[in-house]
């Protein structure tokens, strides 16, 4: 019995030393030993082979063309006017009594039923579906049993992911987090010399690098000359809480957010000791002026780190960018837009907060193959003369959507929880009434 314990202990010791030497130290120093690259190469080869097998096995179903969009049903092209014209055929416009036909209702009923089957907003809050299976059960929608070899490969994948990768990643993540807390608290004890700033940046960077390794994250940064500078505001599209780790791997930011309790609270309090982050109490969040004022004070101080804000306000599934809330754009100062696009082939990073809580989400992250993403730093933007905050926000949103290859939507992400205002219904009615009675309708 004792011998068994002895063996287990030495195994754990060996495991830890291995982890520390091969992964932690290089991560802390920002150096890569090439382990992740080799892993990714093997992974890509395996997935390619699996894809070929699946395609061979599903030749009968080639008729159903897989669409690149996330859409479930086919939508007809054309605006309301065009479609209703088509319905009316070449009927001449009656001289009196408005231009209405019984067939007009077809357009509205079809649109209504389409939205019952799938609506544009909810679509953005479910995970993107892949064209081909990547050997994770969670992304298996349409793929049936193909062959024994594939199932065996999938089984091997499960073992590798849950028994090898998961413990490794959990170890790294906990080391990373504890180091963050300890390191920042230690730095916090130093008086405010120049060296404190430098040390604080170092500590933050190291911890985020360890955490990134803890997710097997491969990040490609583009246009690094546009990286956010001090006193600016960094704005990015939001897909998951991991966005913070992704961005903080390449620079130091001042985080903004609500004060949490529990483990998050401990981390937050520790972080704020070494460099100023902006944490709000729940009650303070309601007061918009207070929030804007605090952010403005921080941004105006040119020695403080750039603020990191996600103006969508909620996690979207990385196929589109939704409405940016104008609050971040009223602060003034230079905006540094950043576009983040995850590659869904290796792991789906989207956090569906209605479906999964934080812990199950992190578990899913740590049992994916890897997180691969591209980060583009866009050139800084400032508000033009006479441009309103909303117009400015939309301008930044288009730039980010364009760079990341995402669909630019003007729906409010908050709609996933809130009700639609009557204003939108009135707009539809106005458009239709223009067709029926023309421009001389009453107000």
């Amino acid at each position: 019995m004792d011998e068994l314990w002895g063996v287990v202990f030495s195994a754990i010791k060996a495991w830890f030393t291995l982890v520390v030497l091969l992964i932690m130290f290089p991560a802390m120093l920002g150096v890569s030993l090439g382990i992740t690259e080799t892993y990714m190469k093997i992974l890509v080869k395996t997935l390619k082979w699996a894809t070929v097998r699946i395609e061979k096995g599903s030749e009968e179903r080639k008729t159903l063309k897989v669409s690149s969009s996330n859409g479930l049903i086919q939508r007809l092209d054309g605006s309301m006017e065009e479609q209703i014209w088509e319905l009316r055929g070449s009927r001449p416009k009656p001289p009196v009594g408005g231009d209405f036909t019984l067939s007009d209702v077809f357009y509205f009923s079809r649109k209504g039923i389409e939205s019952i089957v799938e609506d544009e907003v909810t679509q953005r809050f479910t995970s993107e579906e892949l064209a081909s299976w990547n050997l994770l059960t969670r992304t298996n929608y349409n793929f049936h049993y193909i062959s024994l070899r594939l199932t065996v490969l999938w089984g091997v994948g499960v073992i590798v992911r849950y028994c090898v990768l998961l413990p490794l990643r959990v170890t790294l993540a906990s080391i990373g987090l504890s180091w963050l807390v300890i390191g920042t608290t230690a730095v916090g004890f130093l008086p405010n010399w120049r060296i404190k700033e430098w040390l604080s940046e170092l500590v933050h960077l190291m911890c985020y690098r360890i955490c990134a390794r803890g997710l097997s994250a491969t990040i490609h940064y583009h246009n690094r000359e546009n990286r956010p500078k001090k006193g600016g505001i960094c704005v990015a599209n939001h897909t998951s809480p991991i966005d913070v780790v992704i961005l903080a791997n390449d620079g130091c930011y001042a985080m903004v957010g609500q004060v949490h309790g529990g483990l998050m609270g401990v981390v937050q309090r520790a972080m704020v000791r070494s460099c100023p982050h902006i944490w709000f109490e729940r009650a303070e969040m309601k007061d918009r002026h207070l929030v804007t004022q605090r952010l403005r004070d921080h941004a105006n101080d040119k020695t403080k780190l750039p603020i990191l804000i996600f103006p969508e306000g909620t996690c979207i599934n990385n196929t589109s960018v939704m409405m940016f809330k104008k609050g971040s754009f009223e602060i003034g100062g230079t905006i540094y837009p950043v576009a983040i696009k995850y590659d869904p082939q290796f792991g789906d990073a989207f956090w569906n907060s209605a479906k999964y809580n934080m812990v199950s989400y992190l578990l899913r992250m740590m049992t994916s193959w890897a997180i691969v993403c591209n980060v583009w730093y866009l050139p800084p933007m400032t508000q033009h003369e006479g441009e309103s905050a909303i117009q400015f926000a939309n301008r930044v949103k288009s730039a980010i959507a364009h760079q990341g290859g995402l669909v630019d939507l003007s729906w409010d992400g908050g709609l996933k929880r809130a009700k639609v205002k009557d204003v939108l219904k009135e707009q539809q009615q106005k458009k239709y009434s223009n067709m029926v009675v023309g421009e001389d309708s009453s107000d």
Partner: protein, 194 residues
């Protein structure tokens, strides 16, 4: 989301439902997932408020009527079977269906699609669209944008054009006749992409 087979087994009487409506197993699964997604409180059935949460439906001028089509006879709950049966109206027409007089018409036939649209107008289900009912629909679609006189003149003209037997109302046959040139299959069908 699991595989198709496991989700299919969760739907009660799925075989009969597929035969009745003509949906494929894959589409059944998608509709079932959608049904569950709309049923946010996991009651196992839908109520009118669940439809109210769909943004595009709330901005649709006849959104309430469409929801009403699902909850016929004043019911307050909608189970999955009824949900799918109504949606089956919008399946594309099966082009090579044999015209067998003994087999009842499928839910997605041209005639049944027209009946569905007819019922959006004919709320009291007496088989005729009266002037009052037509005015109601017009009011819903145009609301603040037109005056009452304009509404009445539109309603009068429409009835005049379609009403062949001069009874000041539009019956289903008159409705069908006035729409014989419309490509019903194209305009009242929803095609799944996957």
């Amino acid at each position: 989301m699991g595989s198709t087979a496991s989700t299919l087994s969760k739907i009660p009487d799925v075989e009969t439902l597929m035969q009745e409506t003509g949906f494929t197993p894959a589409h059944m699964v998608r509709l079932y997932d959608r049904f569950k997604a709309l049923d946010k409180e996991r009651k196992g059935h839908l109520c009118p408020q669940d439809f109210g949460a769909i943004k595009e439906l709330a901005e649709n001028p006849i959104g309430d009527r469409i929801v009403g089509a699902f909850f016929s006879q004043g019911q307050e709950t909608l189970d999955f079977h009824s949900f799918v049966r109504i949606l089956a109206h919008f399946r594309p027409v099966d082009k090579d269906r044999p015209r067998d007089p003994n087999v009842p018409e499928p839910i997605n036939s041209r005639s049944n699609k027209l009946k569905f649209a007819f019922q959006l107008y004919d709320q009291d289900k007496d088989g005729k669209i009266s002037r009052a009912e037509l005015l109601q629909v017009l009011r819903a679609m145009l609301e603040m944008q037109v005056t009452e006189e304009q509404l009445e003149s539109i309603a009068d003209r429409t009835i005049q054009e379609a009403d062949l037997d001069r009874d000041e109302a539009i019956s289903f046959d008159e409705f069908r006749k006035s729409l014989e040139k419309v490509n019903i299959d194209h305009k009242m069908s929803i095609r799944f992409l996957r």
